[in-house]
């Protein structure tokens, strides 16, 4: 006999979890491994219990469903649930991930679950699918208010205004913040596009600075400038970077 399908329900509202639980109770081949009411708890449980499927709500306090996804390694198959989120729904449509709009019927739920179980039987790896959703969702959000980073077992939430400067490092970006240094797997272009443009300027191919952390701009030779940050750190400024800096200031 096959093992039961392990499911984790993540939703901050207990009634919303309850209805999914009720629907799931009618299946013999699934078991609810855990119920989580917030993102932190969910990440812990997911790493611990390695579920096959997650029922994931998007709007949750502290850590949204999308932010959670960025922090899970080898994510399982995910069925998204949301009551009303324009951006999220757009992202789901484009990346062809199944999602449930609350309130959903038992039939609709069954359809999504069967689809997920079939993918599971086919040994489908949802990695790329999830990367696509995140990428699509990234396109939709306008300004980034915070960045979530997993650092060992700890999850850090860095408010955008606490970022001092960003530095490109191969496929990663090093975030220098008031809380310390963190590596995040995103591109410089992503940060350039999504950080508040009146506050953050890309001064160089590999550097973005927070203007409130700028001490002064120094001319070295003709046409060559460098930036001194409040902590004394020096950064080079490229020609186009100087133009962007002047336009913003």
């Amino acid at each position: 006999m096959k093992d039961k399908v392990k499911i984790i329900i993540v939703d901050d509202e207990s009634l919303a979890r309850q209805i999914s639980k009720n629907y799931l109770s009618r299946y013999d081949n699934v078991e609810i491994a855990a119920e989580c009411s917030n993102g932190f708890d969910a990440i812990k449980k997911i790493n611990e219990l390695k579920p096959d499927i997650i029922l994931l709500d998007i709007q949750m306090p502290k850590l949204t469903g999308f932010e959670m996804l960025e922090l899970i390694e080898n994510p399982p198959i995910i069925i998204f649930t949301t009551a009303y989120d324009h951006f999220a729904i757009k992202a789901f449509e484009v990346s062809a991930v199944d999602y449930l709009l609350k309130p959903f019927s038992e039939e609709r739920f069954e359809h999504a679950l069967n689809k997920a179980i079939k993918l599971l039987d086919d040994k489908f790896s949802p990695d790329n699918l999830i990367k696509n959703v995140i990428a699509e969702h990234d396109k939709k959000i306008e300004t980034l208010e915070r960045i979530v980073i997993k650092d060992g077992g700890k999850i850090n939430i860095i408010p955008a205004n606490e970022i001092r400067w960003l530095e490109a490092q191969d496929d990663y970006v090093m975030i220098h913040s008031a809380q310390g240094k963190f590596l995040k797997q995103k591109t410089m272009k992503y940060f350039e596009d999504h950080l508040e443009e009146t506050q953050f300027v890309r001064i160089h191919r590999s550097h973005i600075i927070n203007l409130s952390y700028l001490q002064h701009l120094e001319q070295q030779e003709t046409d060559s400038y460098k930036i001194i940050l409040k902590n004394g750190h020096e950064l080079p400024v490229s020609k186009s970077g100087l133009a962007r800096l002047k336009a913003t200031l």
Binding site: S14, L15, I19, N22, Q59, P61, K62, Y84
Partner: protein
């Protein structure tokens, strides 16, 4: 376009006749008195010339109307009227003379009298022409001015209304869909509670949809609706928040704009209750201060939730209050430590 001020209004026509009494007096003084002329001739002269000019005077209106100040150059208006005045008054003199001289027995004596007084007659005619024409222009200008003012006021009201409408509280789709989801779950888990929630949601929606942007309601009514809203949210969030209020008795009947407090509560739920894992206490107080109702909503929040300052909802209330009461600074926001406080000052009608 403006109608004829004399023909369309008997009152004005009477005033016009009164004005003619003055003209007749002038006519007597300038032309008839102290001259050697028979009484019968004098009376005939007075009647014919004055009735003629009175009739012509009504006609002056049309040239004033069609040579409007807005659409013609001032030079053109003046030169046109000089020419027109000269022609009309000459015509008046010619016709008047023709009629009277043919009615009197002694034509030569009348001709002498007429030509001796011709310059006075011409002067009086021109004077009357310009006096009446100026009067007509003033009427046209004044009526146009009034109309413009009415239109401007109407336009301003329309703009204010449109602004108010756009600022009006709108039912938050998150709230609706999440409530529907909770109710859907409750129909399986606790049908009785589901029914209660549906009824509350229906009452809340009815109030929200029925009140318009300018409507005033009593504070008690508004609070009743807020309690419905909080009851519904309570089913969703359970023990995550608590509501406490302290309302001075005299405040309950005071009139406030409908749905003005609602967005404050929604804001608190969205930013504090939703983003905080601990329990949030919503504290509402209302006191009367001078001629204002002072309403304070305070709630704790997690200082590390990084949402930006006052949201759209709160700014909308501020703007609504400004438009309704024509006063700034009726809303204050204070954020310190872990407390978020919004204070509203609602002007009270003292009767």
């Amino acid at each position: 376009m403006v109608g004829h001020p004399l023909i369309n209004s008997p009152k004005n026509f009477l005033l016009y006749l009164l004005f003619w009494v003055l003209i007749v007096i002038l006519y007597l003084n300038l032309i008839v008195l102290d001259r050697e002329v028979e009484l019968s001739k004098a009376i005939l002269d007075i009647i014919v010339f004055n009735v003629l000019l009175l009739g012509l005077g009504i006609g002056f209106w049309f040239s004033a109307k069609y040579l409007s100040i807005e659409n013609h150059k001032i030079f053109r208006i003046i030169s046109n009227h000089l020419l027109e005045g000269a022609i009309l008054i000459s015509l008046w003199l010619l016709i008047g003379y023709f009629i009277v001289s043919n009615l009197v027995t002694d034509k030569d004596a009348y001709t002498n009298f007429f030509f001796a007084t011709l310059k006075f007659r011409a002067a009086l005619g021109i004077f009357t022409y310009f006096l009446l024409t100026s009067f007509y222009y003033i009427i046209i200008y004044y009526t146009g001015f009034q109309e413009r003012r009415i239109k401007e006021t109407e336009l301003k009201n329309l703009v204010t209304e449109a602004e108010l409408r756009s600022l009006k509280f709108q039912i938050n789709p998150h709230f609706i869909f999440n409530s529907l989801n909770s109710m859907s779950a409750l129909t399986e888990i606790d049908p009785k509670k589901a029914k209660q929630m549906i009824i509350k949601l229906a009452e809340f929606l009815r109030y929200t949809l029925a009140t318009n942007d300018k409507q005033m309601v009593s504070l008690n009514e508004e609070l009743k609706n807020i309690k419905l809203y909080l009851d519904i949210e309570k089913i969703r969030f359970e023990e995550k928040f608590e509501y406490v209020d302290e309302i001075d008795e005299i405040c309950g009947k005071a009139q406030i704009p409908s749905m003005i407090l609602q967005p404050l509560f929604e804001n608190a739920i969205k930013h504090a209750v939703y983003e905080t894992l601990d329990k949030v206490v919503l504290n509402l107080t209302c006191t009367k201060q001078d001629s204002f109702l002072k309403i304070v909503l305070q709630n704790n929040f997690e200082s590390e939730s990084h949402k930006k300052g006052a949201g759209v909802g709160i700014n909308n209330i501020k703007e609504r209050l400004r438009l309704i009461y024509q006063q700034d600074n009726l809303l204050e926001v204070k954020k310190e430590n872990n407390l978020f406080r919004v204070t509203l000052y609602i002007p009270v009608d003292e009767k």
